[in-house]
């Protein structure tokens, strides 16, 4: 079959180019090295004791509750906003899109400061709200929810808006021709068809919310049991008890990994 020494045998599988692999390896290192540093520093024996303290458990509970709440709010207001941006041509739409993307670009601390100026006790909106109703966001868990929602909502809106724009609108026309009214079309055709993207967007939103620090500490303050989420607990622990800081960090990594691995490829592919 082979014609002679001058012909090369074809390999059935071609290996990827070397340069590509090297660069990709560097990319992986960006993630792996800090994680490795964390694992090396971990005082493994003391970890169980360190993470079962009241402070840590409170922070964990708060982080989970706040991140889930922020994600739920994001879905509630983010889906309609995404729909509006994708489907309705209104004046200054480009500006609205820019504003929605702003929290992604702003340093979270700046976001927190902005929230303070707007919704703090002496804030532009916060002061009248406080005078009238006694509602105060800073120093309360709802302040944490506000700060967290602020930084994570854009992820949902952008993901879903992209999905809606890529969706063939003719499916909705087909549904209308079959007698479905607007809400029915959204419920039975539009959103089910972009469901994978909604899930992906929600996961990104949750992940961002879970790790939020700068806006939270600037706006909501730091009080164990009320506003001290896991990231804040780590920051404060770094001041005095390095081992505790490492242990809590490890806890965050584990929780995040559990969530992301549980969803596996399903959500990643829909981004």
């Amino acid at each position: 079959m082979t014609t002679g020494s001058s012909s090369r045998r074809r390999r059935p599988h071609r290996r990827p180019p070397l340069l590509l692999v090297v660069l990709a390896g560097l990319g992986l290192a960006v993630f792996a090295i800090p994680l490795f540093g964390l694992l090396v520093r971990t005082p493994w024996v003391e970890v169980p004791g360190l993470i079962t303290t009241d402070v840590v458990l409170e922070a964990l509970g708060l982080s989970i509750a706040v991140s889930l709440t922020a994600s739920a709010i994001a879905l509630l207001v983010g889906l309609p906003l995404a729909w509006l941006l994708a489907r309705v041509e209104f004046p200054l739409r480009w500006l609205v899109r820019g504003i929605v993307t702003l929290p992604l670009v702003l340093p979270p601390v700046v976001g927190g400061a902005a929230l303070l100026f707007a919704l703090g006790r002496r804030g532009v909106l916060g002061e009248p709200l406080y005078e009238a109703t006694g509602i105060l966001l800073p120093f309360s868990v709802w302040g944490v929810v506000a700060a967290t929602t602020f930084v994570s909502l854009p992820f949902l809106v952008i993901t879903v808006e992209g999905a809606l724009r890529n969706l063939d609108e003719r499916y909705e026309l087909a549904a209308a021709s079959l007698g479905a009214r607007r809400w029915a079309v959204m419920r039975r055709v539009t959103f089910p068809m972009i469901a994978p993207s909604i899930v992906a967007g929600s996961v990104l939103t949750w992940a961002r919310a879970f790790g939020e620090f700068g806006a939270t500490i600037t706006f909501a303050g730091n009080l164990a049991g009320e506003t001290q989420t896991l990231p804040l607990a780590v920051f404060v622990a770094l001041e005095s008890d390095r081992d505790a800081a490492v242990a809590i960090s490890l806890l965050m990594v584990v929780v995040s990994l559990i969530v992301l691995v549980a969803l596996r490829d399903r959500w990643w592919r829909s981004l």
Binding site: R122, P138, G221, L223, V236, E239, R242
Partner: protein, 240 residues
């Protein structure tokens, strides 16, 4: 005049042959800025860089091996840890004291009168986190006065606490006298009786791993000198 001299001093970069890094507690921000300027004027060949943060964070950095030349801590315990780890050259020296003071927004809208108000639930009270010297001392002062405070936030450093008070987001907090003085006009102070007050002791020491022990020594000397003390006094620090 001073400004022009300062600018000309820093513009002559070619003459800067030595660099030193000073890790200083956050509450030393303003006073050390002036000390840096005065020192550089007298020692034009030295370039001083200030690294400001909470004393515990600075301690951690040094223990992790940061190339720092001088450590100015807001309490003894952080300096002791650095000393025990063998990072100091020579001994640490006490160079200033700072008293605690209640800080309130300009005009004292909540009409705070003393530490007793810190037990009121209807007020928004802030302290430094217990992990930083300011927070530890504040709690000691409150304990001395027999008050159990109802706290709404534990800020990670004294400057953050001060900013919240300045903005009116908090009704009161406990900071240093120097901090209240630095925000003169925007923040008012309410005195804490001497019996309850716990003075903060500021320690300064030369750190070996910065690599420039000579210039570092000169800096520490400057801080401890007449000139250094008068600058400190102007900012509200009490002499050791």
């Amino acid at each position: 005049m001073t400004l022009i001299l300062l600018l000309s001093g820093s513009c002559a970069d070619a003459s800067k042959t030595e660099e030193i890094v000073i890790s200083a507690a956050a509450s030393l921000t303003d006073v050390f800025a002036e000390i840096e300027a005065s020192f550089e004027m007298a020692n034009p060949e030295v370039d001083v860089t200030l690294n400001l943060a909470g004393s515990s964070a600075l301690r951690e950095q040094i223990l992790e091996g940061a190339p720092v030349d001088v450590f100015a801590s807001a309490d003894r315990s952080n300096m002791d840890e650095v000393e025990e780890a063998g990072r100091l050259v020579g001994e640490a020296r006490l160079f200033a004291s700072n008293l605690l003071q209640i800080a309130v927004p300009s005009g004292n809208p909540a009409m705070i009168e003393g530490l007793a108000d810190f037990a009121r639930d209807d007020l928004l009270i802030g302290l430094c986190a217990v992990e930083v010297p300011c927070g530890a001392l504040a709690r000691m002062a409150l304990a001395r006065a027999g008050i159990t405070p109802i706290v709404d936030t534990n800020e990670p450093d004294v400057r953050a606490l001060l900013t919240r008070i300045e903005l009116g987001e908090l009704d009161a907090g406990i900071t240093y006298v120097t901090d209240v003085a630095s925000r003169h006009g925007a923040v008012d102070g309410v005195a804490i009786p001497d019996d309850d007050n716990v003075p903060a002791e500021y320690m300064i020491g030369v750190v070996e791993q910065g690599g420039n022990t000579d210039a570092a020594d000169r800096f520490v000397g400057f801080v401890l000198s007449e000139q250094g003390r008068s600058i400190l006094a102007r900012y509200g620090f009490t002499p050791p």
